[in-house]
C-alpha cells in the first residue's frame, strides 16, 4: 500500500538575512551570504521551501588562543599569532565562505586591547579577505560597548553580523549596528522567552527583525545539546505558525562549546567528531549559521549539508 506523507501547512516563514555587501551595495565583499527564509522545518523539502543552505563560519581570534586543545592548535599553529594570516589560511586553503572574528583580546583579562586597535584590525581584515564577516565581542559588556561601535564604524557598509546583544546590554550595540548598516546577533541564555523579548526590544529601537540573528546559546553533545535543540525547535515552530518576533535565523557557536567538552579535549581525533556531531544535530534543529573551529569537522559538516540540500 502506498504511504501518504502527512504534509503540514505553515502560515509563517523565517526572515532572510543578508550578510556581506558587494561593491554595488556599497561594500567590498565578493558575495552576499543569504541565510534563513525557511518555510518549513529543517530539510522537509516536500512540505515547504528551504531557500538557503545553512553556512559554516570559520572562527578566528585577534589573539592566539591559550586554551585551545592540541588538535586545534595543530590545525592553525603557524597562523595563531597573526589574525590576518589566519583569516587568509581559512579562505585560501580551506575555502571558508564566512569568517567569524572573535575580539577576545579586548577582554580585560586577555590583553585589554583598545577600541582603536580592534577597529584597525577589522579594517585590515576586510582588505585582506573578501568574504562576509561576523564580528564578536569579548563578552565583557563595558568593553564590548566601546570596541564594537568602533568596529561597526570601521566596517561601515560591509553589512557584517555583529554580536552579541543581550537582554541587559543591547542598546549601544543596536545603535551602532543601525548607524553603520550591519546585522545583529541577539543572544539569550537557552531561554525562548528572553529570546523573544530581546528581539522585540531590539526591533523597538528601529532595527528590522530581518536584521536580527538569534543566538539561542547551545550546549555541545553531552552538555545540554538536547535542551538547545528543543528551544530552537519550539522557536522555529512558533515562527512557522506566524510569530514574526521569533522568525529570525539561528546562529550556533558549535566550535566554542564542542571543544570545551572534556571528551573532545582528551583524545586527538575525537574532538573533530564531537564538533561535527554537535553541528549536525543543530542543523536538524534549524541552525542557519554554525561557527566552527576544526577544518576537518567543517569539511564533514559541509558535505553533510550538501547531501541534505541535494535531496531537495
Amino acid at each position: 500500500m502506498a504511504k501518504e506523507l502527512m504534509i503540514e501547512k505553515w502560515s509563517g516563514r523565517v526572515c532572510v538575512t543578508n550578510i556581506g555587501a558587494t561593491k554595488i551595495e556599497g561594500g567590498s565583499r565578493s558575495r552576499v551570504i543569504k541565510i534563513g527564509g525557511e518555510a518549513t522545518l529543517p530539510f522537509l523539502f516536500k512540505e515547504g521551501a528551504i531557500e538557503n543552505k545553512p553556512v559554516i563560519a570559520y572562527e578566528i581570534w585577534d589573539i592566539a588562543p591559550t586554551d585551545w586543545p592540541d588538535e586545534l592548535v595543530k590545525a592553525y599553529k603557524n597562523v595563531f599569532a597573526d589574525p590576518l594570516a589566519w583569516a587568509e589560511k581559512c579562505v585560501q586553503e580551506h575555502k571558508a565562505e564566512l569568517l567569524c572574528l572573535r575580539l577576545q583580546g579586548a577582554h580585560p583579562d586577555s590583553g585589554n586591547k583598545g577600541a582603536d586597535a580592534q577597529a584597525k584590525l577589522v579594517s585590515q581584515l576586510l582588505k585582506k579577505v573578501n568574504v562576509p564577516l561576523i564580528i564578536i565581542g569579548c563578552g565583557d559588556d563595558t568593553k564590548d560597548n566601546l570596541v564594537l561601535p568602533a568596529c561597526c564604524e570601521a566596517a561601515k557598509g560591509e553589512r557584517c553580523l555583529i554580536g552579541s546583544a543581550v537582554q541587559d546590554n543591547y542598546k549601544t550595540i543596536t545603535a551602532a549596528v543601525l548607524a553603520d548598516g550591519h546585522n545583529i546577533i541577539a543572544e539569550s541564555p537557552i531561554d525562548i522567552n528572553i529570546a523573544k523579548q530581546l528581539n522585540i526590544l531590539i526591533s523597538d529601537m528601529g532595527l528590522p527583525l530581518d536584521r536580527i540573528v538569534i543566538n539561542p546559546t547551545i550546549g555541545a553533545l553531552g552538555y545540554g545539546l538536547e535542551y538547545a535543540y528543543s528551544i530552537m525547535e519550539r522557536a522555529r515552530l512558533a515562527a512557522l505558525a506566524g510569530d514574526k518576533t521569533l522568525a529570525c535565523p539561528f546562529i550556533g557557536f558549535v566550535g566554542q562549546e564542542s571543544w570545551r567538552a572534556k571528551e573532545a579535549r582528551t583524545e586527538s581525533e575525537r574532538g573533530i567528531i564531537w564538533e561535527a556531531i554537535t553541528a549536525t544535530a543543530l542543523l536538524q534543529a534549524g541552525a542557519d549559521i554554525l561557527v566552527m573551529r576544526h577544518p576537518k569537522a567543517i569539511e564533514k559538516v559541509n558535505k553533510y549539508i550538501a547531501d541534505l540540500m541535494r535531496q531537495g
Binding site: N193, K196, Q197, I200, A238, K244
Partner: protein
C-alpha cells in the same frame, strides 16, 4: 484568534448617517481604526433602517475595499443582500449568516461554495432560539451535515452557539460555553466556532467587563473567532492573554506588543 470588527453597522448612528449620505470617509476611517486595533476582518451590515440594502451593501463593500484587502463579513438575515454584496467583493468573503433552516442553507451554502467564502452558521431555526446545549448541538449537526452533503469545506464553517444576554438567560451561560467545546467534536475536520460577543452584555451595566470575562472563558472552551469591538483595548488584551495562557503564543514580557506586531 480571528477577530471580526463589529463597528460597521447601520444601527450605529454615525454609520447609519454615513450610509444615508453616502459619505465614504466615515466608513473608511471606521474600517481602518478597527484594523489598526487588531481586527483580522470587518463585519459589514447596512442596519435595519436601510431602505435599499441591496445597493447599500455594495456601496459599503466598495468603499471599504478602497482602503483594505482584509476579509469582509457580509452581515444580513436576507440571503439576497449577502449575494448582492458578493457580486462586488474582491476581498475574501465571510457570509454572516445562515441558520439551520433548509431555505437558508439552500440559499447560502451554494453561495459560500461558489465564492470560496467562509460561512457563519447560527444554531437557531424558525422554531426559535435553542434553550439548552442539546438543542444547540442538534442544530449544529444539521448545519454540518448539510455542508458535508454539499461538499462545503467544514474548516470554513464557523458555528455560533447564539450568545444570549447574561441578564436575560443567566442559566444558559454554561450550556453556551460547553456548546463551543462540543461543536468541535461533531466532525473531523472540526468546524470552527464563533460568537457575536456584545450580546452577552446587552442591557447590562458593566458591559466591557462582561464582554472580556465571557470572551476569556469562551476562549478556554476552544473558541476560534469572535465578532466584537476591537477598539475596546482591555477586551483585546484579555483575548491575547487568554490565548497566551492556552500556549498559543510563546510568552515574553512584551507579549501584548509581540501579538500586535503580527
Amino acid at each position: 484568534m480571528f477577530i471580526i470588527g463589529e463597528l460597521i453597522n447601520g444601527m450605529y448612528q454615525d454609520i447609519g448617517k454615513a450610509i444615508k449620505e453616502k459619505d465614504k470617509s466615515v466608513i473608511q476611517s471606521c474600517a481602518l481604526k478597527q484594523l489598526k486595533s487588531g481586527a483580522d476582518a470587518l463585519d459589514v451590515n447596512c442596519g435595519p433602517a436601510s431602505r435599499q440594502p441591496l445597493s447599500d451593501i455594495q456601496w459599503l463593500v466598495e468603499s471599504i475595499q478602497e482602503v483594505t484587502d482584509k476579509p469582509l463579513a457580509l452581515d444580513s438575515s436576507k440571503p439576497a443582500v449577502i449575494e448582492s454584496g458578493l457580486k462586488v467583493m474582491k476581498n475574501k468573503a465571510i457570509l454572516n449568516s445562515t441558520t439551520a433552516d433548509p431555505e437558508k442553507l439552500d440559499a447560502l451554502v451554494p453561495l459560500a461554495k461558489k465564492y470560496q467564502a467562509k460561512l457563519i452558521g447560527l444554531t437557531i431555526s424558525a422554531k426559535g432560539i435553542p434553550q439548552n446545549k442539546d438543542q444547540r448541538l442538534e442544530l449544529a449537526a444539521t448545519i454540518v451535515a448539510y455542508c458535508c452533503e454539499q461538499g462545503f469545506p467544514i474548516e470554513d464553517l464557523y458555528l455560533d452557539p447564539i450568545v444570549l444576554p447574561v441578564n436575560v438567560a443567566q442559566a444558559q451561560m454554561r450550556d453556551i460555553l460547553e456548546s463551543i467545546r462540543e461543536f468541535k467534536i461533531i466532525s473531523e475536520p472540526s468546524p470552527k466556532t464563533i460568537v457575536g460577543l456584545s450580546n452577552v452584555s446587552q442591557g447590562s451595566c458593566l458591559r466591557s467587563l462582561l464582554n472580556r470575562t465571557f470572551l476569556s472563558m469562551a476562549i478556554a472552551f476552544g473558541l476560534d473567532a469572535a465578532i466584537l469591538d476591537p477598539q475596546d483595548k482591555e477586551l483585546m488584551d484579555a483575548a491575547i492573554t487568554a490565548n497566551l495562557i492556552l500556549n498559543k503564543q510563546i510568552y515574553c514580557d512584551s507579549y501584548l506588543e509581540a501579538y500586535r506586531k503580527k
